[in-house]
Amino acid sequence: MNIDSIRRGIVLDHIQAGRSMEIYRALGLEELPCSVAIIRNVKSNAMGKKDIIKIDDDIDIDLDVLGYIDPGITVNIIVDGVITEKKHLALPRRLVNMGRCRNPRCITTQEANLDQVFVLADPARKIYRCLYCDAEQRGTDAP
């Protein structure tokens, strides 16, 4: 795989340096049969250093997962060697079944078949609240 010239695929750009492996795992990229390149510590004017992931196939990316991990990432869609689309991410309004509610008194700890749903409460502070119990799910590893 020539990492500089993807014919058809996806380039995830502007990943915070050091977080590419987390994204690799969260998107399940290790399951892909196609080649995937992780490029770490690339010099960047805006970010100092950044990571880049290049995927040599046009797969469906879960933009909600990506937006939750890092809304600063740019998703470039490549067709015939040129960028045909640049997607900028936003924090998803709802997260479904990404993590579990941290409140031990929450109904989700008892009722087995409930979806874990988190609703974006404060985009600036990246705070989600459990749909059921309203408990705050804070921080980069939450919910």
Partner: protein
């Protein structure tokens, strides 16, 4: 379908109309004696609370309706391992409206997702208890003639007391309201609520002794300090007697003060205060019956319509 999960599911205008109806029912109960004939309320108490259950049942029976349900989790199917949502699906085939209490927070939302009939949250753990708040609001409006410009003293366990949290949220929607928070440092109102008050520009002060502020209050809302909220017995014993209302302290207050309490009390209000005309906590219990009558009536009438609560 609309449910009542949280007091903020109701707009100020909807609350006003509910209180109007509740007050009319209180004045002329005979006019409503058969108004819900043929309708069934199910009271599903996954956690025992005799007072709340009796209040709902009394409300439905006062309108000629019927009630069914279970009073405690050991007699319910969830004790045999059935899921809450399956129980709700089953019970909603047998009734027209459900009042449920559950020890887990958010349980009524999970229930509402699968219910064929409107659900009233009769308490979910330490989270929400909207019919207690409606009861409190009806009492304040009856006693003070309205909400605007009132100074509310909240006393005791402000940290874990969910009735206090809901009352603060509900009262913050009326202009000119101010809060005096009377609690030991260990039991102060949670930070998210004081932040909310600051954000909305609602004046509040935090004090440790009720004596200092009693003369300025329109309402003194007492709460009990619950043993189960403490990990350690010594802390409980030290704090439970700190905030007790006695005739001596009440003598400091003005004639316009009204003393409220969600009941049951332990010892935070001396029984010697009960006969003082400013003590209205037993009227509060009575009001709870009428405001629940009004709520059941509205929710049954507007099932699927434009009024009352939470959408899912």
């Amino acid at each position: 379908m609309r449910h009542l999960i949280d007091i903020s599911d109701l707009s100020v205008a909807e609350i006003d109309r509910l209180l109007d109806l509740g007050e009319d029912m209180l004045r002329r109960p005979e006019d409503y004696r058969r108004s819900q004939q043929g309708r069934i309320l199910a009271t599903l108490f996954f956690e025992p609370s005799t007072r709340t259950r009796l209040s709902f049942e009394s409300a439905m029976l006062s309108m000629g309706g019927s009630v069914l349900g279970f009073p405690s989790p050991d007699s319910s199917s969830t004790a045999k391992g059935e899921s809450l949502q399956d129980t709700i699906r089953t019970v909603s085939c047998y009734c027209d409206i459900i009042a449920m209490r559950h020890p887990k927070e958010g349980a009524p939302i999970a229930a509402a997702m699968k219910s064929e009939v409107p659900i009233i949250n009769a308490g979910d753990g330490g989270h929400n208890h909207p019919t207690q708040t409606l009861t409190d609001l009806m009492t304040i409006r009856l006693e003070k003639g309205g909400f605007e410009g009132l100074t509310l003293g909240l006393c005791g366990d402000l940290k874990f007391g969910r009735t206090v949290h809901s009352l603060v949220t509900a009262m913050s929607r009326y202009p000119g309201v101010r809060f005096v928070l009377i609690a030991p440092p260990e039991l102060r109102l949670p930070g998210y609520l004081t932040a909310f008050l600051r954000e909305k520009g609602i004046p509040y002060e935090e004090v440790e002794h009720m004596e200092d502020v009693l003369p300025r209050l329109d309402i003194l809302y007492m709460t009990r300090v619950q043993r189960e909220r403490f990990f350690n017995e010594a802390d409980y014993v030290r704090l439970k007697d700190t905030y007790v209302l006695t005739p001596d302290k009440l003598a400091l207050a003005g004639e316009g003060l009204r003393v409220m309490h969600p009941l049951p009390r332990v010892n935070e209000i001396s029984p010697k205060v009960d006969d003082d005309p400013r003590a209205v906590y037993f009227k509060q219990v009575r009001n709870g019956r009428y405001v629940r009558m009004a709520l059941i009536t509205r929710m049954l009438a507007e099932n699927g319509g434009e009024e009352a609560g939470h959408e899912h």
